[in-house]
């Protein structure tokens, strides 16, 4: 082939590629790659694209990259004004960071009936809605029903339980059903089922705390101080982390660590390590993400679950969501808005859930999924009753706040610094990070 032939073939290929691209969908959605989220989004997009009223230029095309460093890459793309996607994934804890590069969206009143206001709030920043919630994460208290039942049926064990709680917590507690637990009960149970405290315990550890210097571990932890009335800042914007609530929760966690109620390696534990510990049968109870329910129940058939324990201010569970919002640099805002409005409808939410997604729904919507997804009924119930987002939890630096807390609090737990120093440092960091 001579040069002319090469050029001719190349031009033809380019023309074919261009015409094929023109026929492609015009709303590109950058989704959360892999796992049930991708499968659910694919199913929802298929339903949407099949609708007769969706024109060719507004059909949805999905784009998936990799979870590894996803949010870092997304940040760079958005900051660079990329038009490679019209709709992109956002998460509660990073909305503020991406808000300057995104378009707020006005959802219809029906969205509130589908998701409920608590869940919609996970996609809000500065009073504006930046996305449609697609998947919700919160925490469950997982516990061994067989161990609790045996404890409650044994008077000698109850007496021992009272002695241990008196010694470590200052009050003689009686075993209770996990649905009634306060954090004091959680701690007493953790101590009783630890062989370092109670050599007769059937399990080596009473609980497993995730104490690695990792921001997600702070999310697991902070339902604890919240139930004692803790918050990141007050309505006036003053940082309130140095509070009795945070101190109490941090001290209790450290007491459990020092007493050997959680593995000594807990300072390097995150989701996978904690699940492995519980699954081994050597842990009596733990607080973990709802996503672990299937794995933990499969490993330990006698696993029960409930919302995390209560404190003096009530029962709380951290919630955060993944969702989809509009890239400010989009070439097709109209198509993006149309897709997101449909995604906020009951039809889309139900289809998304049936395909494996985990949207947080109102009890009325979740009831329609009772047969297909009974777990979502529990998630939706806890989210609407106990879900919370800290003041500042969707701000531009929310992730960095979690990081700073992880550094300071894990340092205190591991004994590299005292509580006053940790509090002083985190107050200074959060004041800087959350200043208006």
């Amino acid at each position: 082939m001579n040069l002319k032939t090469y050029l001719r073939v190349g031009s033809t290929a380019l023309a074919l590629f261009a015409s094929a691209t023109a026929l492609q969908a015009q709303v590109t959605v950058l989704g959360w790659p892999g796992g049930p989220e991708e499968a659910a989004l694919r199913a929802a997009a298929e339903i949407y694209n099949a609708k007769p009223e969706v024109t060719a230029e507004n059909k949805v095309d999905l784009l998936f990259t990799s979870r590894d460093g996803f949010f870092d890459k997304l940040q760079v793309d958005l900051a660079a004004g990329s038009t490679a996607f019209d709709v992109n994934l956002i998460a509660t804890y990073s909305i503020g960071k991406y808000a300057p590069y995104m378009e707020p969206i006005d959802l219809s009143a029906d969205a509130s009936k589908v998701f409920g206001d608590t869940v919609l709030k996970t996609m809000q920043f500065d009073g504006k809605q930046y996305g449609v919630p697609t998947d919700l994460s919160l925490h469950f208290l997982y516990y061994r029903k067989d161990l609790i039942a045996a404890l409650m049926a044994d008077d000698a064990a109850k007496a021992k339980y009272g002695e241990i709680s008196k010694k470590y917590l200052g009050e003689a507690l009686q075993p209770k059903a996990p649905e009634e637990w306060t954090w004091q009960d959680f701690a007493a149970n953790a101590l009783y089922f630890s062989q370092s405290v109670n050599p007769d315990s059937p399990t080596k550890y009473g609980t497993v705390l995730q104490m690695k210097n990792l921001l997600f571990n702070m999310m697991v932890f902070h339902s604890w101080p919240r139930s004692y009335g803790g918050n990141w800042m007050d309505d006036a914007g003053k940082i309130t982390v140095d509070s009795d609530a945070y101190r109490k929760a941090l001290e209790m966690a450290k007491m459990l660590y020092d007493a050997g109620a959680t593995p000594a390696d807990s300072t390097s534990y995150e989701y996978a390590e904690a699940n492995a510990a519980y699954s081994s049968g050597q842990v009596a109870a733990m607080v973990q993400w709802n996503a672990a329910a299937a794995d933990l129940t499969k490993a330990q058939a006698e696993t029960g679950s409930f919302s995390p324990p209560a404190g003096p201010d009530g029962r709380f569970t951290h919630i955060h969501g993944l969702g989809l919002g509009i890239n400010k640099a989009t070439d097709n805002k109209e198509g993006a808005v149309a897709f997101l409005n449909w995604l906020a409808s009951e039809e889309a939410a139900v289809a998304y859930a049936k395909a494996g997604g985990a949207p947080g729904l109102t009890p009325e919507t979740a009831a329609k999924l009772a047969a297909d997804r009974p777990d979502l009924v529990q998630v939706s119930d806890y989210a609407s009753k106990y879900g919370f987002v800290m003041n500042g939890g969707t701000s531009a630096n929310a992730l960095t706040v979690y990081e700073a807390q992880a550094k300071e609090f894990t340092g205190y737990w591991a004994g590299t610094q005292d509580l006053d120093t940790a509090m002083k440092n985190i107050t200074a960091s959060m004041t800087e990070l959350l200043k208006k």
Partner: protein
């Protein structure tokens, strides 16, 4: 062959030069610009010059010094251990390797594994409930240490790094050991020199330049460690396993302080450069 003209040489070399300038020069220049600018992701396209402010922030940050101290301790400890072990293995295994050269291929396998994978692998191997090492220690001794708690984590990451990179030192020392002329050893043996004395008085001095180079290469590598520590334990409780590279990564991507991260990277580069220059000068003086 007749040498080409300088113009011809320049033309032929230009693609490579242009490629290197684009791939290495451009990011370096950009890093230096950001190092002297107020730059965050929001202002990445329009950084504003702020002089030495980022450098002042970095040197005033206790976390930077904590990371520097960790990197220094880690670099020196691992380089010493790898060189000592590598030297021992090279001398001890040399007769065996002479007969069975394929042993070298087996011994250098750890070097071939990506450091990030090594970190992940040990995360599994050392886990109290699923790891084989705690399992067998429990089985044999009735208990197992907590490898990753605050008391042991430094030792653990040092051992992991040493196990992976000792083969590198071993390979260098083996080459240097085998390069010592046979006649020297034979002459010393004829004079009645004992093996231990032969090692200290003849072989070790001849291998010293290699030892010196290996130590510095391993020190620099240890000083800028990232992958295996990050995947094994992350920054550590209270930042206790944060190396300078982890500090830079977290400052850049997690906290979005691009200017500050670049300033720290420039300081890391300068310190590594000075150390290497110093090492080179010492070698030259000795030579």
């Amino acid at each position: 062959m007749k040498p080409k003209s300088s113009i011809e040489n320049a033309v032929l070399a230009s693609p490579l030069v242009i490629f290197l300038l684009a791939m290495l020069g451009f990011p370096v220049v950009l890093s230096v610009i950001y190092g002297f600018s107020e730059a965050r992701f929001e202002t990445i396209a329009s950084p504003t010059f702020n002089g030495l402010a980022n450098f002042r922030q970095v040197v005033a940050d206790p976390a930077f010094w904590q990371a520097s101290w960790f990197s220094l301790r880690f670099g020196v400890t691992t380089a010493l251990l790898q060189c000592a072990l590598g030297l021992f293995l090279a001398v001890y295994l040399a007769p065996l390797v002479r007969r069975h050269a394929w042993i070298v291929a087996i011994l250098i396998i750890p070097m071939v594994v990506a450091p990030a994978m090594v970190g992940l692998m040990y995360r599994l191997v050392l886990h109290e409930f699923v790891g084989p090492l705690p399992y067998y220690l429990n089985l044999i001794f009735g208990s197992s240490p907590s490898f990753l708690n605050i008391a042991n984590v430094f030792k653990t990451v040092v051992i992991v790094e040493t196990l992976q990179w000792t083969p590198f030192a071993f390979l260098l020392f083996l080459t240097a050991y085998e390069a010592i002329p046979k006649e020297m050893r034979e002459a010393a043996a004829v004079d009645g020199t004992r093996p231990w004395r032969m090692f200290w008085r003849i072989e070790f001095p001849l291998m010293f330049p290699t030892l010196f180079a290996a130590f510095f290469v391993r020190f620099i590598d240890g000083f800028r460690v990232f992958d295996n520590i990050y995947t094994l334990v992350g920054p550590g409780p209270g930042g206790s396993t944060t190396s300078l590279s982890i500090y830079i990564y977290e400052t850049f991507l997690r906290r979005g302080e691009i200017g500050k991260a670049m300033a720290a990277a420039i300081l890391l580069f300068i310190s590594a450069f000075l150390l290497l220059a110093l090492a080179q000068q010492m070698m030259r003086r000795r030579g």
